[in-house]
Symmetry: C2
Subunit: 544 residues, 2 copies
């Protein structure tokens, strides 16, 4: 039974109660205790729910290192799974990051994997992701779980079939144990909806956790998961990765199976397509997941994939990196400017790297078309979904202005496509003429901003429009020296000024992560990962 | 200057005169001498234009073997190029297969390649297609040549930029020397237009050479080229391959660069996309071209490619082949039925092959949508192009009914997309559930038919709709025993009956080639080629 006819408030109350009941009583924390804290990052290891080994399992490794420990039988799959279920439960109580909780089923599966391994000790090779807990954005179908995507009308309608990616991850040996929160419509920079409420940013609860994959962002920041999968149609992996200090990879369309993901678009909508990709605590974990997926027969799982296989490419010995400090629409705020320049300076100091300052042509027109692609038939289908249970639009929907996007005609749609084809030619030429391997640029003009203020995706959306892979690399966080400066620095008109004014200095923005974005050639995801790993070793090498 | 304002007849007369002037006088034949012959296949070697070595060069090898001879310096690139220019000139005089002739430039380039090789005798490795003449369908841009696509309004407007594929082939070392004829609109099964007129089928001039890549079909059948490239949006590579007894490979969309091809669709039209691929005298030549392309950096040439690399896959030891004798819309005519069954019987006799009879679900509805995808905005843009010079529609346009396709709305278009996504799921499941490697089926319900009677593409278009790669393997030709049978055998209504009646027995259809089609998984072009090479060795092995 879906929620037709019932009021969204009673649906949400029931759903939240059911969700709460999925957390074992002994894993409950006194969340009120942390009400006044804005930075929650240490709570999972101090709250007393996880024992020492569980703290170690969940704190000390990235997914790649953890997989080695599992493979080496340092810890059983069950131990690892329980540890992450506990930590995810804590993370959820702190930030409201989970939508569906199925710890019980996950632990059962973990025991099963351990049993199978014991029973065939000299047996077959372990699967590539054997025993690794992986969290998924709510929009992926998992059999027996809702895929409400935060809409009351879709509550209590458990999936009967796995999304292609969920099926593939299970076949690769992963443990699925929870799904994560996202915004109503899956389109805003605040992971907030009328069913589950808002996910908080554990770095600074005054700021947004980002969207649309904000639940993953908060969960992974608290290490309730080391590897999650989001989707990105204009920045929905990269924005929460920035907000939560994570690595996030927006793969080229179809490289990661996206079949059977609930994306709320009118069925058959084409143009700019949503794409799936990893969010993680290390860049090599993004590679781990992409490699495991691209080495598998994705095309057997999903009729919509683009079959770009993993090739084992070698890292190039010399790299040419285009530098884009400012996209000509939104002026980067002081902490973004500082950390971009810091990253650029580190790259400039390396022999193997040549940097080439670039600007992005035609982005104003491109961005207008990108917004049109988000709702080519207008937004009535969203209103219709809201109306089924009487739910109102969330505040951040107003901020991004999605509901006022007007539809177009078939002729208008093809004209958009034609402009996009021309832009694609121009950008390929920009890359080829400058012989660059990748572009380094901000992820947004700002860090995470206060709730419901995230207004656009001009730094990320271009790469969806062109279908270029792009990855977020964290740099540091807002520093005491990142003072707000005068709005006169905002060069691109009133919209820019309004955004620029949001940054009021390090007090409100304390601990907000900063990051850069690295962008590669369309469908050259593997090459981009190689490049990003090298750049990350320079930008973050000394910290590690 | 394009042909705006001028009458199409004077444009065509001038253009044909210019084309004629591109043939050296000593290569002219007395074409009237062959007016009464219906089978012209032997004329190139009997007409006296080619000397003995030139006959050998053009007759005795496929492209793969010829490349070896060039690489081994048995013949110079110039010798080879001159031989194919001569043979193409003869083929053209017999069948009217060429649109643009640039023998002079080709021979100059051949000399240049020979010179470069002499000057660096221990020098760098030869490029993969060093010195190999390759012919292209007229719709590919080649700098300095018209891309009229048989429309008077586009005559005298030489291209300023190569199509991505032309640029790539030149970089791979190929020699481009001519472009080939196609139908007005590039959409019918008769390669006929008001600028160049009709291309004849050299196997039987009473029958169509097929379309839309019919010029290539006739040229390669007469071995005026060993390797040509066509495009296929519903069967335009495969239909002329069938009609002319050739191998023809419809690659998955974007695997072969299609950027910068004039396809006459309204700019930005999306949905079912045209795709490029080889036509050749051997299956391994299709592989030769696909491998050379897929091993190169196609994505640097073209912002529209799908970057599926060549992987060096091994041939599977056991194959499961689905058999589809009849598509449920058009009943195969007696020679098609016979040669399909003959091919199926040969496969059944092989240990490594298991055959599984299959039927194609939902093809009636799919085909209707495919037709809608051919002109989602209707056909006014074609009329507008015709009207510029007052040219009438060719007769075969009436036969296929293209000009009566009505446009749809954006909503209707997305509904078509949604149905297509459902069909894609269903067909992937059909392949996976039956664990088949490929499907064997007819290319059409009939062989080449009399002029202007080719009415549909129900056997080929499904694979464009689903974007599955498909290859044509010739089987034999119409036999004296292929008697016409009663129309009562046509099971699927009046349209089927009308088509079925076209086959009147072996007299009119003498020497008409028969063929089968082999279809593989989407974007698994390399695996399909491996499968097709094996099946061809069984079907045609004993003849070789």
């Amino acid at each position: 039974m879906t929620g037709y006819g019932k009021d969204y408030r009673s649906i949400a109350a029931d759903k939240q109660r059911q969700r709460q009941d999925k957390i074992p009583e002994q894993w409950l924390i006194d969340a009120q205790k942390y009400d006044k804290a804005t930075n929650l990052l240490q709570v999972p290891v101090t709250c007393g729910i996880l024992n020492e080994v569980e703290c170690q399992i969940t704190s000390d490794y990235d997914a790649t290192a953890l997989l080695e420990k599992i493979q080496g039988e340092v810890w059983s799959v069950e131990q690892v799974t329980v540890a992450f279920c506990k930590r995810a439960a804590v993370a959820h109580q702190l930030t409201n990051c989970l939508t569906e909780i199925f710890f019980y089923e996950a632990i059962e599966r973990a025991r099963q994997l351990d049993r199978e391994r014991r029973e065939s000790p000299n047996g077959k090779a372990l699967r590539p992701l054997h025993g690794l807990p992986i969290s998924l954005k709510d929009s992926f179908h998992i059999v027996g779980q809702d895929t409400s995507t935060g809409l009351a009308c879709f509550v209590n309608d458990p999936a009967e079939q796995n999304s292609a990616l969920a099926a593939l991850l299970l076949d690769l040996g992963a443990i699925l144990y929870c799904k994560t929160n996202l915004p109503q419509t899956i389109m805003t920079g605040d992971s907030d909806n009328n069913v589950f409420g808002r996910t908080l940013n554990p770095h600074n609860t005054n700021l947004t956790a980002g969207g649309s994959t904000g639940g993953e962002g908060a969960l992974i920041a608290l290490r309730g998961s080391l590897l999650g999968v989001g989707t990105d149609i204009a920045g929905s992996i990269r924005i929460p990765s920035l907000c939560n200090g994570l690595y996030g990879f927006r793969g080229s369309v179809g490289v990661v199976p996206h079949g059977g993901v609930r994306d709320l678009a009118v069925p058959g909508t084409d143009g700019v397509r949503s794409t799936a990709g990893p969010m993680a605590t290390s860049i090599r974990d993004c590679q781990l997941l992409m490699k495991a997926i691209m080495e598998s027969e994705t095309w057997r799982y999903d009729s919509t994939v683009v079959s770009v296989p993993w090739r084992g490419l070698r890292v190039r010995e010399k790299l040419r990196i285009g530098l884009v400090e400012d996209n000509g629409i939104d002026t980067p705020s002081p902490p973004i400017r500082r950390s971009f320049n810091e990253a650029a300076r580190l790259l400039q100091g390396i022999n193997e790297i040549e940097v080439i300052p670039l600007s992005l042509p035609g982005l104003g027109d491109i961005y207008q078309d990108l917004v049109r692609y988000m709702a080519p038939l207008g937004t009535e289908h969203y209103s219709e979904l809201f109306n089924r249970t009487g739910e109102p639009a969330i505040p951040s929907l107003d901020t991004i202005g999605l509901m006022s996007v007007e539809g177009t005609t078939l002729k208008g749609f093809f004209e958009m496509n034609a402009r996009r084809q021309e832009a694609a030619k121009k950008y390929l030429q920009l890359f080829c003429d400058n012989r660059i391997d990748a572009i380094l640029m901000p992820v947004a003009a700002h860090t995470a901003v206060p709730w419901d203020k995230w207004a656009n995706a001009t730094y990320t959306g271009l790469w969806n429009y062109l279908d270029y892979p792009a990855v977020v690399i964290p740099v540091d966080k807002v520093q005491d020296t990142d003072l707000a400066d005068d709005v006169v620095h905002a060069k691109y008109g009133p919209g820019d000024a309004e955004l620029y004014k949001l940054y009021t200095g390090p007090e409100l923005y304390s601990d907000a992560p900063t990051a850069v974005q690295v962008v590669g050639y369309r469908q050259m995801d593997e090459a981009l990962l190689n490049t990003a790993i090298f750049l990350d070793s320079i930008i973050n090498g000394q910290k590690q």
